[in-house]
Amino acid sequence: MEAIYAACVGLMTACGIFMMLRGHTFTLVMGLLMCSYAVNLFLFASGGLTLDGAVILGQSQQYADPLPQALVLTAIVIGFAMTAFAVILAMRGRADMGNDHVDGEEPQDPLTRNLAQKEVK
């Protein structure tokens, strides 16, 4: 179980980081979402994975650590608010700058830019 869980978290984080490295706000937001899902799962597992564990006293022989569950709940709420803000900001950026690149302008390929400059000369 641990191996599958760890692999899933790792894969999601890797996908998230890959998408965050793109220069456009849409992929960036998607990457952030992926990463925040992954981190929620990661936090959940930080107390150790237990099967059939209760978090309330007197309900079971086995107990799960309740604190990571509280932490995850907080992290989910915060992540939700932050994602909403990021989406709105991305839309605002698209409207203000006319494109969705994080720098506000599409980077030109250095080769074509040099050619264009030579033509101007």
């Binding site: 965050m20 706000t25 960036l28 952030l32 990463c35 925040s36 981190v39 929620n40 990661f42 936090l43 597992a45 930080s46 107390g47 150790g48 604190l67 990571p68 932490l71 907080t74 992290a75 915060i78 608010a81 932050m82 803000f85 990021a86 900001l89 991305a90 605002r92 950026g93 203000d96 700058m97 994080v102 720098d103 506000g104």
Partner: protein, 503 residues
């Protein structure tokens, strides 16, 4: 329970409650009432912080268990001298910045006042909390408020700077959670006092994990504090923000520095066994490079606001070098310098705001422009702030730098620190002299039409400038207090303080 028992939580609650009240009918949409209400809230907050400071000085560290859940299971607020002093600093800076904004900057966008109060709440909370996860929560509060404040007033430049700022910090928040998960999984606690105990007896197989988690935290705090490879967002963000907001942001980098002190200076400090001082080898060269790059930044600045933003990077580099020494004397000296540099950063941003207004189209760029209509007041203010930031007598910059130099005499690497600090001072002197002559003396054509500076703006700038001579006049008591604060930071944490007894 009387009010006194709840004192440590009041600096967080007062801005929080006032922000909510500002959103409710008697105040909502009423600009005049809102302005009065926020100033009262700030004064109230400063008053309680002073009271808390006196209590901490007489009775020692105050621990407040929220909801009376005992640490390490509940969340504790730890009001030690250092935290309370920085909260007081935040209060004064926020009052000045907010006063400045009340002169008209607050109508450029909606919900300025409530968001500003939420921002203050987040900053105060981050300083007072005694729990790493709670620190994350307060970081998020101050960040989401700062995202909104940063973009206040709108415009293409702000949107562009805000995009970088927001996305970088969102990635930082995600990494913060990864670090906290790793630390909780290995140490089994996130309470600062308990973490310091748990770090010293980590089992050998968990050692690399704890180290990874701790260094990940350094990266996140480095992002907040603008440490070298993570500081590129700062000049653009700070120079694009509204003056009042930029002034308040001067304390935001200090949140990162303070967290490095708490986590890497104390928890992963000398008593951490195998992991003792693990951040220092990283912190030391990076801080020096930050200082060096900040100096290049101030030399290359084309406008006053960018110049001030780069001066903040220089002060961050200086402070982080002092943090890297991690001794009691250096921490005491650095705390004094931190107070001074935050105030001077804030004052310079406000002054730059007024200069932008007075110079019309030329704004704050270092070019020949029309003469300012009445440059006397703002010129004197600029002169005082420049003297303070360079570190010339008689203002607090001189005392701060002298204390830093004195406290590091016997340390290793002292040559690097001294030369870095002194050369940075020289470069600031040259650049600010050039900036001042260009802004005030190099003019042509008819003077620009006279627009009187609003009285609130004058008052805000005067309030901050007044702190520099006061920091010198009361230098004795203040340095005594910073020494006591540094002592509490390193030794208070092992005292049986109520939270400890429960384990």
């Amino acid at each position: 329970m009387n009010l006194l028992n709840h004192l440590p939580v009041l600096p967080v609650l007062i801005p929080f409650i006032s922000a909510i009240l500002l959103l409710l009918p008697p105040l909502r949409g009423q600009l005049g009432r809102q302005r009065i209400a926020v100033i009262i809230a700030h004064l109230l907050s400063i008053g309680t912080t002073v009271w808390l400071l006196l209590t901490v000085q007489s009775d020692g560290i105050q621990v407040y268990a929220l909801g009376n859940w005992q640490a390490p299971f509940g969340i504790a607020f730890i009001a030690d001298l250092m935290a309370v002093m920085i909260v007081l600093l935040t209060g004064v800076l926020a009052l000045a910045a907010h006063l400045y904004a009340c002169a008209g900057d607050d109508v450029k966008g909606s919900f300025f006042h409530p968001i500003f109060m939420f921002q203050v709440m987040g900053i105060n909370g981050a300083f007072l909390t005694g729990d790493a996860f709670n620190m994350f929560v307060f970081f998020e509060i101050l960040l989401i408020a700062s995202y909104a404040l940063m973009i206040h007033g709108g415009g293409k430049q702000r949107t562009q700077a805000n995009l970088h700022y927001v996305f970088l910090n969102l990635i930082g928040s995600t990494l913060f959670l990864f670090a906290l998960g790793t630390l909780y999984g290995t140490l089994g606690t996130l309470n600062f006092v308990d973490m310091a105990r748990a770090v010293s007896d980590v089992s050998p197989e968990n050692l690399p994990l704890v180290k990874a988690g701790g260094l990940l935290l350094l990266a996140i705090f480095g992002l907040k504090a603008a440490l070298l490879p993570l500081h590129f967002w700062l000049p653009r963000t700070y120079s694009a923000a509204t003056p009042a907001v930029a002034a308040l942001f001067a304390v935001m980098t200090k949140v990162g520095i303070y967290s490095i002190w708490r986590i890497h200076g104390v928890i992963f400090g000398v008593n951490a066994g195998e992991l003792a001082n693990m951040a220092q080898p990283w912190l030391w060269p990076l801080a020096f490079m930050t200082l060096a790059l900040g100096c290049l930044g101030i030399l290359a600045s084309q406008g006053l606001r960018t110049l001030v933003a780069n001066l903040i990077i220089v002060s961050v580099g200086t402070l982080l070098m002092a943090v890297a020494f991690n001794t009691e004397q250096t921490t005491a000296a650095a705390l004094y310098y931190l107070i001074h540099s935050t105030l001077v950063g804030g004052a310079l941003f406000l002054i730059a705001g007024v200069i932008v207004e007075m110079r019309g189209k030329a704004e704050d760029r270092f070019v020949t422009a029309r003469k300012m209509a009445n440059p006397a007041f703002i010129g004197i203010c600029f002169f005082i702030a420049a003297l303070a930031v360079i570190g010339m007598p008689p203002f607090s910059g001189f005392v701060g730098k002298a204390l830093l130099l004195k406290s590091t005499v016997a340390e290793d690497h002292v040559a690097w620190f001294w030369s870095g600090l002194l050369i940075a001072g020289l470069i600031s002197l040259v650049t600010l002299a050039r900036a001042g002559t260009t802004l005030f003396w190099r003019d042509q054509g008819t003077p620009s039409p006279a627009e009187p500076v609003a009285i609130q703006k004058k008052a805000a700038i005067a309030l901050l400038l007044l702190c520099f001579p006061l920091l010198v006049v009361f230098g004795g008591p203040i340095t005594e207090m910073t020494e006591q604060a540094a002592n509490q930071l390193y030794h208070g944490i092992q005292l049986p303080m109520g939270v400890n007894n429960e384990y």
